[in-house]
């Protein structure tokens, strides 16, 4: 079994068959993660570089764990800032990677399209670990995996993504992946934090949690970046929490239990109340575990097809 593409640049355009293959493969790796010995050999002899141009702790650690558990050799490269501030251009970095005979590249970059650029200039498989406001495909996959494990099937379930959709690559990857799998997707947040023509991506737009909560199966609550309150896009975190905060009080009014997700890190009692984040319907830590499994699946499927 192999994926249609040599790279994972985003979930837009990835077929239902490929998404299913990744999620099924992730499920078997999830079993591996429950064993006392968590290491398996499929990527032995492969070298993977984690190129992080934007700071990240959990995504990088999750990838690194996944790589090591597949027995790959791992090197980390962290640099902040774009080519403009850094001196070396992305193209030169790519050429260096090529010269060092690296098999796979995991890249996080503040500029949308940087993984695409890289995929055009290196022979290695490229995995997007988050590019600008574009996509974060492995986050989308781990969210889908978590929902699938909990609800059995994604077909027909209603997932609402809540918060700053405008600045969220997680939202975009979730929308593409979930829609391909047949889920019903909506978004809810302040109108100033909605990207232009978001409804063209096949989602319904809500500006009141009260309107969407009665019909949802899951809420995927996005982190609100604290510095955004000075951007002129919304007045204050207090007001945000009052009108868009996902709280137990709001969720308890729903006719059925709602699965609570969050890509982390959480701002407790800003976008989500602490009791809900720690509550019985929260799957936030399962998401973290599934993140490793899903990344193992992607690395395995791309890395063993060469």
């Amino acid at each position: 079994m192999a994926l249609e593409s040599r790279h994972l640049l985003g979930l837009e355009g990835v077929s239902k068959e490929d998404l299913t293959l990744i999620l099924d493969t992730a499920r078997s790796f999830r079993e591996v993660l429950e064993r006392p010995i968590k290491k398996v050999p499929p990527l032995q002899g492969k070298t993977i570089v984690n190129l992080f141009f934007e700071s990240s702790t959990r995504t990088r650690i999750s990838f690194e764990l996944a790589e090591r558990r597949l027995s790959a050799d791992v090197v980390n490269f962290a640099a902040s800032g774009s080519s403009v501030s850094k001196g070396e251009t992305l193209k030169d970095t790519a050429r260096n990677i090529e010269a060092m005979k690296i098999d796979m590249v995991v890249i996080r970059h503040e500029s949308a399209g940087a993984p695409h650029f890289l995929s055009r200039v290196v022979r290695a498989n490229v995995i997007n670990a988050g590019d600008g406001l574009h996509e974060h495909p492995t986050q989308g996959l781990l969210d889908m995996m978590t929902l699938r494990e909990r609800h059995g099937s994604l077909e027909g379930m209603h997932v609402c993504i809540v918060g700053d959709i405008l600045h969220s690559r997680v939202a975009r990857s979730n929308i593409h992946g979930l829609r391909t799998m047949g889920a019903d997707v909506s978004v809810c947040g302040p109108s100033t934090l909605m990207p232009a023509r978001i409804e063209d991506l096949g989602v319904r737009v809500y500006h009141r949690l009260e309107d969407v909560i009665p019909s949802v199966d899951a809420l995927n609550v996005l982190r609100i970046q604290l510095e955004r309150q000075h951007s002129g896009l919304f007045p204050s975190l207090r007001e945000y929490h009052r009108f868009f905060g996902v709280t137990k009080e709001r969720v308890d009014r729903a006719p059925k239990p709602i699965t609570i997700m969050h890509p982390g890190p959480i701002n407790r009692d800003v976008e989500i109340s602490a009791d809900l984040a720690d509550g019985e319907h929260s799957v936030i830590l399962e998401q973290v575990t599934n993140g490793v499994a899903v990344r193992m699946a992607v690395l395995y499927l791309l890395g063993s097809s060469n």
């Binding site: 992305l90 500029s111 399209g113 590019d131 406001l133 574009h134 975009r172 232009a196």
Partner: protein, 428 residues
């Protein structure tokens, strides 16, 4: 220079002439227009085989990058690119280093144009509206005009301050030169690198809302009502609503003109999907509907001019992350072919109208004398084949820079050469 153009299809909007005829040029002056002209023994005979001879094209919006950015383009390489594209004249924007905000720089550019290709291509500087193009103090417009500036613009940046724009319109009106606005409300476009819409949302690239252009044009036209003698020209117009604002202002008989670039009547924001930085320009590529509006406005005369916004950047400058790449593409050598394919073939413009928008209209706007094609007039001609099919190859571009999104595109219509200032240059 003695030349006889045999069997040229002479198309001259000034006289509405369109006929196949011979043109004899002696010492750079049109000596005779007629049939079966017998050439003098020393004359160069160019068998046009029905290819077109028209008044020389002028591109009123180019960036020649000199002084200051000679690694991208020089006046000489820019003039060669212009000649190759069929332009006998260019107006170059003042965003050089130093900016053309002072008569010595204006004079340098104008003189360097005369040295490049021995004056084959006329180079007319556009002076800055404000000192250093910073939008704070008026540049010495009268001195710039005296040194050869044919218009004023802070292009690359807008004249954002309304009070400054009012002053610029009133002051420039005293000597009849246009103010050319790069229409963009800067408080709305910070960080933007493509048209704001469905595609920017899909690609996760920061958007530039069309209203940022439209509101600036609307504001300027309101100012223009209070400066009735001023002349206002909108550079690189790109949205349907912008065109509608200009259309209405023209109905009011305000002195408003505008130009469109070939890329804005050819490509849409969907071209950005591959993150090719040669699709990054300002204003950005817009929607299918906007492209349609550009064509309609060219047809109904709302858009007066086709100008390229020729903006050379090196490969290293462009081969970076999309958000980090500079705006702009080269355009001089693909303009005619794109106009033929997108405008003339589908019937939006006749050849006569196309030539007006590449020659007479821009010349009138920047106050240059009309080109006459008659016996006794200095020959200023563009020669082109309207039906030759060719494939754009960036390696073959004469510009120093190769940043074009049209590599590999098949165009119809290509310049054969130009005649100007007693010189002839025929393309290979």
């Amino acid at each position: 220079m003695n030349v006889v153009l045999k069997s040229a299809r002479l198309i001259d909007p000034a006289t509405q002439r369109d006929e196949v005829i011979d043109i004899q040029i002696v010492d750079g002056v049109i000596a005779k227009i007629g049939s079966a002209i017998r050439a003098q023994s020393d004359a160069r005979i160019v068998d046009m085989k029905g290819a077109i001879a028209s008044p020389g094209f002028i591109d009123m919006h180019v960036h020649l990058r000199e002084p200051g950015f000679e690694h991208k383009e020089t006046i000489a390489t820019g003039c060669t690119s212009a000649a190759e594209g069929g332009f006998t004249a260019v107006c170059c924007m003042p965003n050089t280093n130093p900016a053309i905000d002072d008569e010595s720089v204006a004079r340098y550019v104008h003189e360097e144009g005369k040295r490049a290709l021995e004056g084959l291509v006329d180079v007319f500087p556009i002076g800055a509206v404000t000192k250093g193009r910073k939008g704070e103090e008026l540049a010495p417009m009268a001195e710039l005009a005296a040194a050869g500036a044919v218009g004023f613009s802070d292009d690359g940046a807008p004249v954002a301050n309304a009070g400054m724009m009012r002053s610029a319109l009133e002051y420039s009106a005293m000597f009849g030169k246009p103010v050319i606005q790069h229409a963009e409300e800067p408080t709305m476009t910070k960080g933007g690198c493509m048209h704001e819409g469905r595609t920017s949302t899909l690609l996760g690239l920061p958007g530039i809302a069309p209203v940022a252009e439209e509101m600036m044009i609307a504001r300027d036209i309101m100012l223009l009502r209070y400066a009735p003698k001023a002349r206002y020209h909108v550079a690189h117009i790109s949205t349907r609503a912008s065109v509608e604002i200009v259309r209405n202002a023209k109905k009011e008989e305000l002195s408003v003109t505008c130009e469109v670039t070939p890329h804005h009547f050819t490509l849409t924001d969907e071209a950005v999907t591959t993150y090719d930085t040669n699709t990054k320009m300002n204003p950005p590529l817009r929607t299918v509907d906007d492209v349609q509006a550009m064509k309609e406005a060219l047809r109904d005369g709302t858009i007066d001019v086709i100008a390229t916004d020729h903006a050379p950047h090196t490969i290293d400058e462009k081969e970076v992350e999309y958000t980090a790449a500079p705006f702009g593409i080269v355009g001089l050598e693909t303009a005619l072919g794109l106009a033929m394919v997108e405008l003339v073939e589908p019937g939006f413009l006749t050849l006569m109208q196309l030539i007006e928008k590449l020659s007479a209209n821009p010349r009138r706007i920047v106050g240059l004398p009309a080109i006459r094609i008659e016996e006794g007039a200095t020959a200023n001609l563009t020669l082109f084949r309207p039906d030759v099919r060719w494939t754009v190859d960036i390696a073959a571009l004469r510009s120093k820079s190769k940043n074009s999104p049209f590599h590999g595109r098949v165009l119809v219509g290509k310049a054969m050469g130009i005649i100007n200032n007693g010189k002839i240059r025929l393309n290979a």
